[in-house]
């Protein structure tokens, strides 16, 4: 299963791209996806504690089980206003 991942705000600069695709075996949780992702993008791993994770337009935590068609977004704390 391939999961597209979008990086928002300065996470895109840290990742060196704003979008990537991660191939994971099923079933995989968000945590499983992140483990693969952090191997490829160690700069993001350092910010894991302050990373927000969405699947589609909803926040999810690491235990969320990914489905085909899911789109993951990673971003730093939000700053609207």
């Amino acid at each position: 299963m391939t999961i597209p991942v979008t990086f928002w705000s300065y996470f895109a600069e840290l990742a060196g791209c704003s979008e990537t695709v991660v191939t994971v075996s099923e079933p995989t949780t968000v945590d499983g996806l992140l483990a693969a992702l952090y191997q490829a993008h160690p700069a993001l791993a350092e910010l894991r504690r302050s990373t927000l994770i969405a699947v589609g337009v909803e926040y999810q935590d690491g235990g969320y089980v990914l489905k085909p068609g899911d789109h993951v977004s990673l971003f730093p704390p939000v700053q609207g206003g």
Binding site: S9, S18, A54, Q79
Partner: protein, 143 residues
Amino acid sequence: MKRYLSITRDPLDEAGLVADRTLSSGMGAAVYFSGVVRGQEGADAIVALDYSCFVPMAEHQFQRLFDRLAQRGSVESVRLVHRIGRVPVGESSLWIEVVSAHRAEAFAACQWVIDEMKQVVPIWKKPVTAADACLPSDSNPAS
């Protein structure tokens, strides 16, 4: 509860928004907040903020906040405009109006929306200094 949401690259027309207000005869209070970009971000002088936004998620999260506000039952209408892209110092990035029967409810609800928004709505800002100002604004995907 009536609701109006706009996430836009256009300057906020606050006077026009105020002129468009509608309220029923039981309503006694309209509370407004306009958040303006300051000329200082931390210790640095800036000329603008570049706001980027994950728009579909931001819209969804705003609507979830409005759902929760509606459950409180005391607010007749909420209108919210968030400007994104490059917002110069002295211009508004955020405008909120809450209409309620009584002012305490309207003040509380307006502040609640701002507080919650700052937790969950995926919008980010990047300071723009005079040196940056000739560069194009932040080019995040779909922002």
